[in-house]
Symmetry: C2
Subunit: 343 residues, 2 copies
């Protein structure tokens, strides 16, 4: 059933039927109702390719996922997608995912844009210095960044967590509990979020007259074994940290495992704070031996990004920014600094 048939059966022109269905004003209420009822009855749905061709809009949002053959795919990705997808669905958009080789990523944007495959894209995992923004600007393709880059904050749309403040707050909490040596198991610091986290911690340390020690700060892929390895190394340090901040639940779990292996107990012998992205498959707070965490839902961030991008596309808004605050949830993995023989 296409528009032509539909309009013939209704005894109307295609124009009128199209307008009736798309909510244009120059159609009488009565006709509109009649058309809508009949369309529903006939189960009519416009052919989206035809519509796309005619309007030049694609009603599709692109997500470009750079991924080399044996790369790891970010475990956060699916939760983000889940959140964004829900909004797309609600607002009549489709989600197009391009898995591309890292080195062809940029040309993919060009191609998506030239082809009018997508009306806009979400930029994932922004680097401090990220030339994707340059490309997208040149292409005039609307985009929203999940995170930030070093570009001026008001020069593009983004949704981000206040990572700096979160880590500042967590560190301050530890400092107030008497900790003087605070380690960091971070993600890759060429990613903006990781850099800001370190800055947050360092600022808090300096405000308390402590010079950050790079020997108890590591930056790597945020997976369990890395958390385990990093914590193990920290514990073997001549002057080990009494508290450690992690950048994910996975590394926190690894770190926690290392602590247990060494016979120590979390919250008593050493304090650990994780970062909970509220990933759906990761232990919910309360289930897993309750860990002190900074917490913010990545799925929610996905929703925000999607909404913001669609607003941008519809022209209802210019650049917008959304800075989410992570919640600080105190669990059992933190406690006062152990009393040392020294000092």
């Amino acid at each position: 059933m296409n528009l032509k048939e539909l309009s013939e059966q209704l005894g109307l022109s295609q124009t009128t039927v199209s307008r009736a269905l798309n909510g244009y004003p120059e159609v009488s209420e009565e006709t509109r109702r009649r058309v809508e009822a009949f369309a529903r009855k006939m189960n009519y749905q416009p052919n989206s390719n035809a519509r796309r061709l005619a309007t030049g809009k694609s009603y599709t949002i692109g997500h470009v996922v750079p991924l080399s053959d044996h790369d790891m795919i970010n475990p956060h990705f699916s939760d983000f997608i889940a959140g964004a997808g829900e909004i797309y669905n609600r607002r009549g958009y489709d989600m197009l995912i391009s898995v591309v080789n890292a080195d062809t990523e940029k040309s993919v944007y060009e191609s998506l844009s030239r082809n009018r495959r997508v009306d806009g894209v979400i930029v994932h995992g922004p680097r401090v210095k990220d030339d994707r923004l340059t490309i997208l600007r040149k292409l005039k393709l609307p985009f929203v960044v999940h995170g930030r880059t070093s570009d001026p904050e008001d020069s593009f749309s983004w949704v981000d967590v206040n990572n700096r403040r979160a880590y500042h707050k967590a560190a301050t909490y530890l400092l107030e509990a008497g900790h003087r040596r605070i380690g960091l198991i971070n993600g890759w610091e060429y990613m903006t979020f990781a850099l800001k986290r370190r800055e947050g911690l360092e600022t808090a340390l300096r405000q308390n007259g402590i010079e950050p020690d790079p020997e108890i700060m590591v930056s790597s892929e945020m997976i369990e074994p890395n958390g385990h390895g990093a914590m193990k190394a920290f514990l073997a340090h001549r002057d080990p940290p009494t508290a450690v901040l992690c950048s994910s639940m996975l590394t926190a779990m690894g770190a926690s495992r290392a602590v247990h292996e060494s016979g120590m107990e979390l919250g008593r012998d050493i304090s650990l704070i994780g970062y909970d992205d509220c990933l759906s498959f990761l232990p919910a707070a309360g289930e897993y031996p309750s860990m002190t965490v900074m917490q913010s839902s990545i799925r929610l961030a996905g929703k925000h990004c999607a909404d913001m991008l669609i607003d941008l596309i519809d022209g209802n808004a210019g650049h917008r920014n959304l800075l989410l605050e992570a919640e600080f949830v105190i669990g059992a993995s933190t406690g006062p600094a152990p009393v040392m023989a020294t000092t």
Copy 2:
């Protein structure tokens, strides 16, 4: 730059240019070369919406992800997508992901099909009795199932792991090591894969004259806390299992944690076998205290599904099936059955 301009500049008709670019034979080799060179130089790419409209093909594969608001999104999903996406990319297809409310899933297939949004779909997480197949058949929409249903095996295309054999094999290995009580921490058993896993275990038990005990078999969401809870319950049983099969790494990690908490040691006091889907963010074998696992890459399965579906769409093949064997990797989490006072 569109076809019209391109052909004008080349001094050829649109027909010829289109044919040249699409590899039709009725174009001289010389012309084809000239056209191709020029198109590349001009950076021409056909407008895909126009092409879709004209051909009725969408060059897009759909993935429908049912997801209610606070549902968990399957952690396997992103790895599967990564694998499939790579193939789509290579073979010139796009990936469309629809996140839908579980209750509207079926109508989404209709809509995707009627709209010609997709040329085919991948069916995720098949149930034993799954009416999605009925719908897709009625819609004549090509599909490949990742897993199987209770429908006759040769009546549709699927890619699956030989779950039954994997669990049979793992159980037999344990039985040969003297274990007589083997527990199971399974996924939801309305999912075919989980059902087959239990069947594999039960068959092995019966072949050794042991009646399966439902009290040491649980079925639930495969996340860490559930593994932990299940194992804790098993250990508290009046006649606890000496070995346990898990259906994922997440539950295995939870189970492992429960074992450690109880002061026991894996491989000595109790044996544990996990199922490693080779998820990119999960501890690689060797890193995590090496666990005995059944192993098969879900990312690879994604690749196979994608290839199979595209073949199906292109009409190069009828129904095809691919039964992958899981590898059995012996690690340190298994050992001979502990010698009991009894027996």
